[in-house]
């Protein structure tokens, strides 16, 4: 039996009970001095009434103190919560109960006391045993419960089977929705039944962040809601892999840097932790790390692929209490080196003075491994004109005056088929020739007509603006743009205004408003136009640190795989939608889950724009297969459940606001919890009556002479 208070702060006002005592003591000090002829009668009278007087005074004092204390208690809102006590058998029947088992990811947390999901199920087992003896019960998981109403059954075995089917899910939690289903299910129970919901949970705070009682649309105040809190008071230590990034461009033979981010949610230092890199099932590298409380660390791993194909990668933290967030699956899209064919329109004997010197060095800067993602090859105009085919994914024309008609047509076919072209201009380019050859002709490759060469008069131009949202300029989203913006341009081609063909906004623009870099899609390919030179003839961009990332970024942008899979940040347990075109429209697609199950995805959308819809329930690699090809998709568990800090009891009560909840702990047995009749009886009426009686008695005795 416990007395609780709704407004405990008012208990401090009980200290006011000392006021009558203080007044009594002060009054004694303020006694008036009276000269009196003879105190004999006073003494004798006092002797006779002394005992009665003292008793009266003490009684008055006690009543006054009691009144103030009673008022303080009344304001504090006392409630008497009675319990039946352990072992007390409660003869009760006609119970309708719902047991909700939290099966979110955090319930896989496995401290020495046991995995939380197992603890929850054990507790639920105990509840099922007690509740089926007194009525009906339904068991449901928190995540992905069946459609309401759930079947309430007195059959213990049915309830146990339902409990056994509950597994940890990777889906997001929606506590309000599940509770609503519980309330809906209890609605159909007979009205004379006493209804309860038992919600067994570890109480991690993130799922509760979005919860409020206002979201309960089917709330029934006659239903008792009891939250069974697991592992309350235990410290929960968890380190996890927050994410993986592949900052480089994976090519065969070139070392790829894989960055793994490890984060600790523990209040204690953790470690040593072993972090392991696996690629294609083979352990390649292992690192040991220690974390401080709440620390986030970055670990660098290196991988060199020998084949140009997607590789399946996996990073893991070995030995942690919650394993699901210790693993990160990702695909490494290893490609062949990008062949870039560079046509030097003004070859020089000195390489340094050639049109292509800076471009070649930017694309293949001579990395320590000697394996740049791009393999540039320089040819003359004559050589290019005579080429029958291009073994390149990007062709760069550097200050090329003109091409033969055949070469132009071949170039056009190349771009339309998916090849990529970059025009660098210079003094050998004449606007009339270019406009006629590459714009106003069937080989319409130029993004815009050229007008004339503009030369800076007083001082050189700098780049006025760049669009950082452009993928081609992704390297310049931060302070890296400073180097690019410092480049100075003496000359550049002005483009004709009023071009009937609409063009997209330039990727780069000089400060005088002249476009510097434009893009155009031609068929399946892309064309970029740089209105100045590739070398130092008209600008000093080639000497800037930004030149290398600019050139490599442009090439990678042009050659990026349009059918690139979604990033490895894709989450298990969330519905996914993939454009079917990536797999080849019209072909049947099968999905094999990591656990070997075959899934049949749903296909929806208009013809030509169909999309695959499916939900991967577990993390891992999902293989999407058609008769002709196979691709892998990496799904990972959400990291929302990695924060294992529990919501406080007070916060929990605040979230439920006016809804009365009882919070119990798994340390108590289900039987004991059920035996508690949490009769919460308000003592306010008794107190106000006591206060009234005390005041009445005080008034009567005080005025009685």
């Amino acid at each position: 039996m416990v007395i609780g208070f709704e407004n405990p702060l008012f208990l401090y006002s009980a200290a006011g009970g000392t006021i009558p005592i203080l007044i009594h003591l002060l009054n004694r000090r303020k006694a008036k001095l009276q000269r009196f002829p003879s105190v004999e009668f006073i003494l004798e009278s006092q002797k006779k009434v002394a005992r009665h007087y003292r008793l009266r005074q003490r009684l008055l004092l006690a009543l006054r103190v009691l009144s103030i204390v009673a008022m303080a208690l009344f304001l504090a809102g006392p409630r008497l919560v009675t319990g039946g006590g352990k072992g007390a058998v409660e003869a009760e029947s006609n119970l309708a109960s719902i047991i909700i088992v939290d099966n979110s990811l955090s319930m896989n947390y496995s401290p020495p006391s046991g995995k939380y999901i197992d603890l929850a199920k054990n507790f639920a087992e105990g509840l099922i045993k007690e509740l089926t003896a007194q009525g009906t019960v339904a068991v449901a998981p928190l995540l992905s419960p069946d459609k309401a109403p759930w079947d309430l059954t007195p059959d213990i075995e049915s309830a146990r089977r339902a409990l056994g089917e509950i597994k940890v899910s990777y889906e997001p939690s929606d506590i309000a929705s599940t509770l609503d289903k519980a309330y809906a299910s209890l609605k159909i129970a007979p009205p004379q039944y006493r209804k309860s919901i038992f919600f067994i949970t570890d109480g991690t705070s993130v799922p509760w962040n979005d919860f409020s009682a206002a979201k309960l649309t089917l709330l029934d105040s006659s239903v008792k809601l009891k939250i069974v809190s697991l592992g309350r008071g235990q410290s929960r230590e968890n380190a996890y892999l927050k994410g993986v990034s592949l900052p480089g461009y994976p090519v065969v033979g070139a070392p790829l840097s894989i960055e793994a981010v490890v984060e600790s949610n523990s209040a204690e230092p953790m470690g040593p932790l072993q972090v392991e890199l696996e690629v294609e099932g083979k352990t390649l590298q292992r690192k040991v790390v220690k974390t401080k409380p709440g620390e986030k660390l970055s670990l660098q791993f290196e991988f060199v692929a020998s084949r140009a194909e997607p590789h399946l990668g996996k990073l893991s933290i070995l030995k942690d209490n919650l394993l699901d967030d210790n693993v990160y699956y990702f695909t490494i899209p290893v490609r062949e080196r990008v062949n870039a064919l560079i046509v030097d329109g003004d070859p020089k004997t000195s390489l340094l003075n050639s049109e292509t010197y800076y471009v070649v060095n930017a694309l293949d800067p001579g990395t320590p491994s000697g394996r740049s993602p791009v393999a540039p090859k320089v040819v003359t105009v004559g050589e290019f004109n005579s080429m029958g085919s291009y073994n390149a994914r990007v062709i760069i024309l550097a200050n090329v005056a003109e091409l033969t008609g055949t070469a132009r047509r071949q170039l056009m076919d190349y771009v339309q088929a998916g090849g990529n072209l970059i025009f660098f201009l210079g003094d050998r380019v004449t606007p009339d020739n270019y406009n006629k050859s590459f714009h106003d002709s069937p080989t319409r490759l130029l993004p815009s007509r050229l007008e004339n060469i503009e030369e800076a008069k007083e001082r050189s131009w700098r780049i006025g603006s760049l669009d950082p949202n452009q993928l081609a300029l992704a390297a310049f989203r931060g302070r890296e743009s400073e180097s690019l913006l410092s480049a100075q341009f003496k000359k550049a081609f002005r483009l004709e205004r009023g071009d009937p063909e609409p063009r997209a906004d330039p990727l780069l623009t000089l400060e005088n408003g002249m476009p510097l870099l434009l893009e155009k899609e031609v068929g399946k390919g892309k064309v970029l136009l740089f209105t100045s030179t590739a070398d130092r003839d008209w600008n000093d961009l080639g000497t800037k640190g930004a030149y290398l990332p600019l050139m490599q970024g442009l090439v990678r942008y042009l050659v990026r795989d349009e059918a690139e899979w979604p990033a490895s940040a894709t989450l298990a347990g969330r519905p996914m939608e993939l454009p079917l075109s990536r797999m080849g429209s019209g072909q049947a697609v099968q999905i094999v889950a990591p656990d070997g199950r075959t899934l049949k995805p749903a296909i929806s959308g208009e013809a030509g724009m169909e999309a695959l819809r499916f939900t991967g329930t577990v993390p891992g690699f999902y293989q999407l297969m058609t008769p002709s090809e196979s691709k892998h998709l990496a799904l990972n568990a959400s990291r929302e459940e990695s924060d294992l800090n529990a919501v406080s009891e007070q916060d929990l009560r605040n979230k439920f606001a006016e809804v009365a909840i009882e919070i119990v702990y798994d340390a108590d047995s289900p039987r004991d919890i059920l035996k508690r009749k949490e009769k919460s009886v308000s003592l306010s009426s008794a107190l106000i009556l006591s206060l009234f009686l005390a005041l009445a008695a005080e008034g009567f005795i005080a005025n009685k002479t």
């Binding site: 004694r28 006694a31 003879s38 105190v39 006073i42």
Partner: protein, 302 residues
């Protein structure tokens, strides 16, 4: 100082006593003639004057001829009426200095003493004064001249109430200075050993004196209407007591009432007249009422 020129002889009091007289109920022993019955018979007297009839006067002395003429009741006064020797004993202990209102018990007693003295001297009776507390503070032998009032008033004025009454000494003082076959008026609050005091006064009865006890008390001594927690300090003894008057009022009043009844019954049983004077009542009115009642009683007896 009042208009009479005497402190304690106030015109407003005297006006209440204009038609009053104080007659001894006992046979007096005196040479001069006065209002009182005398052991001396057949003594020749002469008519001196008329005075207005006062209730209690002997109707044998009504001048019926004057009545027929004036339609007024007039008493004949004779020159050589037998005189009375009276002695007024006044308590001047510390407790007499108490006042809850405008007048202390001592002042009240002084007013009574002066008024009685005036009355007696007007009656051509002799009046003496004994002021006492622990011992005798002042003694004035009985004399008949009217100018004696000045001396009585002065003696009263010069006295400050102090000390405690010693009943033993009181008795010896009384025996020494009190007259024989006279009238003794004892004015006190009787707070100091009242039983012994009254017993002592009885001694005077043996000397054929009539003893009247004027018991003077302040209204608060009787009613005890104090409020609020108080520390009461005894005016005579070194004693203090803290008390809540409200809580003991009822019991106090009961005890005071019993005390008054004891005093009254003790006096009566000793054949002494007893009169309680509450200082809240005007002295003149209270004294006139007493005298009227006394004379009425005397008349009935006769």
């Amino acid at each position: 100082m009042s208009e009479t020129g005497l402190k304690y002889l106030r015109p407003e009091i005297l006006s209440c006593l204009a038609n009053s007289s104080l007659k001894s109920r006992r046979v007096v022993d005196g040479v001069l003639s006065g209002l009182h019955d005398s052991t001396y018979h057949g003594y020749s007297v002469e008519f001196t004057q008329h005075r207005e009839y006062s209730p209690g006067d002997d109707i044998r002395h009504v001048d019926w001829k004057a009545y027929g003429k004036s339609d007024r009741y007039l008493i004949k006064e004779y020159e050589e009426e037998t005189n009375l020797k009276a002695c007024i004993m006044v308590d001047a202990s510390s407790s007499m200095d108490y006042a809850s209102g405008a007048i202390t018990k001592w002042e009240y007693a002084c007013y009574l003493t002066a008024s009685l003295s005036y009355l007696l001297l007007k009656q051509r009776d002799a009046v003496g004064l004994i002021i006492f507390s622990e011992g005798v503070k002042a003694v004035l032998p009985p004399l008949t001249r009217i100018s004696y009032l000045r001396e009585i008033d002065r003696t009263l004025s010069e006295t400050r109430p102090q000390g405690r009454v010693s009943s033993g000494r009181l008795v010896s003082v009384a025996q020494t200075f009190a007259p024989r076959r006279g009238l003794v008026i004892f004015i006190s609050d009787l707070l100091d050993s009242p039983g012994e005091t009254i017993t002592g006064l009885k001694q005077l009865m043996h000397r054929k004196n009539e003893v009247i006890v004027f018991h003077v008390l302040d209204t608060e001594e009787i009613e005890f209407n104090f409020t609020g927690l108080s520390i009461f300090e005894d005016m005579e003894l070194d004693a203090r007591v803290m008390s809540d008057p409200l809580s003991i009022r009822k019991e106090y009043r009961r005890r005071v009432k019993a005390f008054l009844e004891l005093c009254s019954s003790s006096c009566r049983s000793a054949s002494m007249e007893y009169q309680l004077f509450n200082t809240s009542a005007l002295p003149g009115v209270a004294l006139a009422r007493y005298l009227s009642s006394r004379n009425e009683t005397r008349k009935i007896r006769i």
